[in-house]
Amino acid sequence: MSGRKKTNWNKTMFKQYFLLVLPGLVIFTIGLIVPMLMAVRYSLTSWDGMTKEKPFVGFENYLSLFQDSDFLNAWWFTLKFTIGNTIIQNILALLFAVALDKGIKAQKLYRTAFFVPCLISSVIVGFVWLRMFSNVLPAINEALGTNINFLLFGDGDTVLSGLLIANNWQWIGYWMLIYLAGLQSIPAELYEAARVDGAGAIRRFINVTIPMLAPAITICIVGITTGSLKVYDLLVASTKGGPGRASTSIIYQTYTTAINGRQYGYGSAMSVTLVIVLLLVALIQVKELKSREVQA
């Protein structure tokens, strides 16, 4: 009897808790999971977005992707942009954080100065750097009589470095804050102990700071990589994917293909490749970095 009562009670509890979860679950499913499944389904069709029926073509879209030079170029740009960001942003953010943690005066003021750019929408950041490179910085040449090429967005060879500068300017402060929080949580006793054991500054950094920062490093690497793979807003008001197609990212390419070219099926196949790459990258990085955290 009491057993049955308990299951009944559990059932009513379950129902009540279930009702709490339900609205979020429904919104999340309709807004993100269903679109994900739709993308997979459309990617197997040659739908143009207008007709009622969506002709099934199997994996044809995926096969043509590998022969599509625009698509491969877009991936190539996205990869270069991602690798560049992951390396530069991580190193600089960590260096900045270490410098700010050295006990300099007015630390908070510096923190805010580096952080402010990330509060600005990427669309605006792109526009600001477009003006910086084309109008403001060339004036320095005039003033100093030097001849540095600042027109980075104007040439296919330099557009990547221009975008890296803009993106790093925007995000270094953000990741720096995460590293700073990590640094400030390292107990001072650990450094003391290392010093007693005769470790120099560099050894202390490698053997104490880096292992203790492992969780922060994981977050920063995964965050920067996945964030850079999704670059789109930054390009909208700066390079528009140009010059030529030199700075067309994978999302930008999908946008042009699907919305402007009205190839919904083909564009969906592009989206699916990006989702797969992002999931894989995130999973591999988390697994790889987490295993290091445990060892440390």
Binding site: F14, L20, P23, I30, G103, L119, S271
Partner: protein, 289 residues
């Protein structure tokens, strides 16, 4: 989040202000100046007249503070409408988000049933699915459900795309809520909903603040979803309006610069006054605890 920060007070005795600290201070000052330079240039431009833009050096200061560009930007951006739209979308989205995430995370943390474990994983997977990559089906589903070109449609999508992070954040805070209080409330005959609002919710306030502030920034600055979902003039957001201003005014960009200042100012003020909560949310999981 169980970590103790080193107090800023006892930082100085451990780290005496030496010569090398001074060198670091100088380097960081130069870097900070470089980081702030583009912002000063934007502000500088926003006060320049058209004549000054064409004749003077970009680095020169404006002859006087004239607010003509601001007036023009105000009109061109349709500022009253776009600003209140953005504010409305952001505020409503984050409030609903906070409510839903709190309830969901609480149910997940308290109910040991398999279903809720599944829910947690289901939501967490969402963090890894980039909505930016799925803009096309997100647009199509919105179009089919008649959500495009409506205020509630864009709010719905903002909630759907940010809820997974919110559930993750709130669930990780839920362990700090003591069970005893809840049990006492239940014994007194409180319903689940009442227990949540009278006992749990007040304790979640700091976490809620963190969630609300972090997501406000993301939603306020969003461009992709807003540009997909709203094309009607009276529904546009600031970032969308500012982007059309950028492409319309290629030669006279002093107005655009003034528009940037107006659109960034509210968010910058909000951050500087609420940085504590923002940093807390950013660093969840970054610190060994």
């Amino acid at each position: 989040m169980a970590f103790t920060r080193r107090k800023e007070k006892d930082e100085s005795p451990k780290q005496p202000y030496t010569k090398s600290t001074f060198v670091v201070q100088i380097i960081m000052t130069i870097l900070a100046a470089l980081f702030l330079a583009p912002i000063f240039i934007v502000i500088n431009y926003s006060f320049k007249t058209k004549k000054e833009l064409y004749l003077n050096s970009p680095l020169s200061l404006p002859e006087s503070f004239n607010f003509d560009n601001y007036k023009k930007a105000f009109d061109k951006l349709n500022m009253v409408t776009t600003f209140s739209n953005t504010l409305l979308y952001t505020v409503i989205s984050v409030l609903i988000l906070a409510l839903l995430c709190g309830l969901t995370a609480w149910a997940i943390a308290r109910c040991k049933h398999k279903f809720f474990k599944f829910c947690y994983i289901y939501f967490i997977v969402g963090i890894l699915i980039p909505y930016q990559a799925l803009f096309l089906p997100i647009y199509i589903i919105g179009f089919n459900l008649k959500l495009t070109n409506t205020g509630y449609g864009i709010i719905f999508m903002y909630i759907a795309t940010t809820i997974s992070f919110g559930v993750f954040l709130m669930t990780s805070f839920m362990s700090t809520v003591p069970l005893e209080l809840e049990e006492a409330a239940r014994i007194d005959g409180c319903s689940i909903i009442r227990t949540y609002f009278s006992v749990v919710f007040p304790l979640l306030k700091p976490a809620m603040a963190t969630l609300i502030i972090m997501q406000s920034f993301q939603i306020w600055n969003d461009y992709l979803l807003a540009s997909l979902y709203v094309s009607k003039k009276q529904l546009k957001t600031l970032t969308v309006a500012i982007q059309s201003l950028f492409s319309a005014q290629t030669s006279d960009y002093t107005t655009a610069m003034a528009a940037i200042v107006i659109s960034v100012l509210p968010i910058a003020i909000l951050f500087i006054s609420l940085q504590k909560y923002f940093i807390k949310g950013m660093t969840v999981g970054a610190v060994k605890g």
